[in-house]
């Protein structure tokens, strides 16, 4: 009993802070999501109406919200595998025995992660320019007609994905490098003696060895990519034709552009529910496959 109390006293400061700065705001946001808080309510709380689940109902009936969901899923479904493949590929190259100047390349490939997003967005906007951009120039050299990257609703999201993957893959690459270093060299040696090709060694030694790391990286990346915001905010402001409005961008517009805080809170909770569902499903699959 006494030891119990000592334990509680030790965790009390941390619990208080978490309660005060995390659970309380979350609870308040949930209450807010059940109201129609807007500028009229900001003027006078008497104008606040408790609307139950109406915000959620309206959101689910709002085509722009669904478009934001679809845009975000598009970003996740294409961006996450691409990002993981790029990270893994870069990590394998870095760990290859043929690689020289490893320290330099590791730093160079990691550099985009620590650059300022707004600053590199300016450069990417130049690169992606329809008529004067380097990317279209390169495509023109191999006979591809100029692509209106940020102006065409079909190409804006691919451009955002390209930018986001370039900006973020270095982080996962470092995790993969650490993971690769834990795979014992004698496993590769044994496989080589058995006559396994490089591809087979990758499939039967590297990947199983990395499985927990891949799971971790995919969990983190999906959770991160579902919260897409800054890239469209600085590159396209959600356009053209709302093709790059993500769920968080939609929430930002509701909350801080139009001051519909009730609606914005409802968006936040729907996004939370989505992320929770995706994570639970992923963990269930991982458990069934014996990755955990």
């Amino acid at each position: 009993m006494k030891r119990d109390r000592a334990g509680w006293i030790f965790v009390a400061p941390a619990m208080t802070i978490i309660g005060l700065f995390f659970f309380l705001p979350v609870a308040a946001a949930f209450v807010l999501s059940l109201t129609d808080f807007d500028i009229y309510a900001l003027a006078d709380l008497g104008n606040l109406r408790f609307v139950g689940l109406r915000n959620y109902g309206e959101l689910l009936a709002n085509p722009l919200f669904w478009q934001a969901v679809a845009n975000t899923l598009y970003f996740v479904v294409v961006g996450v595998p691409l990002s993981i493949a790029a990270s893994l590929g870069a990590a394998l190259l870095l760990e290859s025995r043929l690689a020289r100047f490893k320290g330099f390349f590791r730093t160079a490939l990691f550099a985009p992660v620590v650059t300022t997003l707004v600053a590199v967005a300016v450069i990417w906007r130049y690169l992606l320019h329809t008529r004067y951009g380097l990317i279209n120039y390169g495509l023109g050299e191999i006979g591809v007609r100029p692509v209106d990257w940020l102006g065409d609703p079909h190409w804006a999201m691919p451009a955002i994905i390209l930018f986001a993957v370039w900006k973020n893959f270095g982080y996962n690459m470092i995790i993969f490098v650490a993971g690769l270093q834990t795979i014992p060299e004698d496993l590769y040696e044994a496989a080589r003696i058995d006559g396994a090709s490089a591809l087979r060694r990758f499939w039967h030694v590297t990947l199983p060895g990395l499985a927990p790391v891949v799971l971790l990286v995919s969990l983190l990346t999906i959770a991160g990519y579902l919260q897409l915001f800054a890239e469209p905010y600085v590159m396209t402001q959600g356009g053209p034709a709302q093709s790059t409005v993500s769920i968080l961008y939609f929430m930002y517009e509701q909350g801080f552009k139009w001051w519909s805080l009730g609606m914005a809170s409802a968006v936040a909770f729907l996004l939370f529910a989505m992320m929770l569902a995706v994570t639970v499903i992923q963990l269930a699959i991982a458990r069934r496959r014996g990755m955990l």
Binding site: A119, G239, W259
Partner: protein, 428 residues
Amino acid sequence: MTVRPSRRSALGQLVAGPLAACSNGAGDGTVLTFWAMGREGEVVQALMSTFERANPGVTVQVQQLPWSAAHAKLLTAFAGGSLPDVCQIGNTWLPEFVALRAVERLDARVLASSVVKPSDAFGGIWRTNVVDGGLYGVPWYVDTRLLFYRRDLLARAGFGAPPTTWAQWLSAMQAVKRMVGRGAYAALLPLDEYEPLLTLALQQDAPLLRDGGGRGNFRSPGFKAALAFYAEIFARGLAPPASDADIGNLYDEFARGYFSFYVTGPWNLGEFKRRLPAPDQGAWMTAPMPGPGGPGAGLAGGASLVVFRRSPRKDAAWRLIEYLSTTEVQSRFWALTGDLPSRKDAWSAPALVNDIHAAAFREQLERVKPTPQAPEWERIATEMQLVAARMVSERLTVDEAATEIDRRADRLLEKRRWMLARGLGTPA
């Protein structure tokens, strides 16, 4: 009001914003805080020393906000009780701040003032400051949209004078398009800007909202006529279905003849002079907006000065507004920024009289109309433009688009209808 619609500058402001806030040393006595946006915030600082000398004991602290963040910042400051004493505010934002009961009514002060007089102001601009019968702001500088055009290309296409009616405008655009061929266009109406379409809509007699601002009126024959004209420009391939950002450097493109008509605002007077190559300087001109049957109305834009209700220094704040409204300061401010003066007599300054490109603005300003004064208006206009852009790219019919805009407007106005029904739509 007008947020300069350049994404490049929005990016720049994101980078520069935190560094740009500047302040003045505070002496004894009254310290007035004054928030101003963008370029105005930078420049107005230089005008403060004269005011401070004339008002001993009053110091003005100017704080600069980037336009892209100003609206959100003001609402946040209202929620947090940290609004300044005096503020520049886009005049279309005013109904929102009146609904918040954040701004002070100024009727009595104007009545007693020897400087600020309604008769010196452009009627349409003044009316944007009158919400539900009360005056809440004083025009600082004015803004409207009109035609910037290539005089040389128009002449080559056989038009000696700019168009004054929609029909003339359409035939001028068709003639230009025939001349420039496939690789270029006749006009630029960026699909992410609602001002061009809104200007066409304001030229009609039908109001844009009905039922006391409780419902959209976009299915009126007047609005549909404006929308049909807008749609026709794109359907005939006279304007590129592009947003502002797709154009890249629009000054280069204008110089190269990629488009010959551009509906834009007074800040581009300075930009065109600065950025167009010297040989092209004689080639461009401005003209008032063509209307359905003769010179048409324009959008009453610009910025006003307001005093916030919670300010304990309202008298000093009003003196600052009066100072900024004097003819001399208005002329100096124009010289510093290029922002068009809100006082008619400041337009008789020689430099402004001799500015051939500004003359069209002077004429247009006599014919400007305010946008509907509902706090939701900005949002409705945004939705209007989103639907119009969809109409252009997905080939919706005008009727479908008008119905959809009405549907979206009515949804956005639901709370306002509730407020109106409770009789609380108009704050005391």
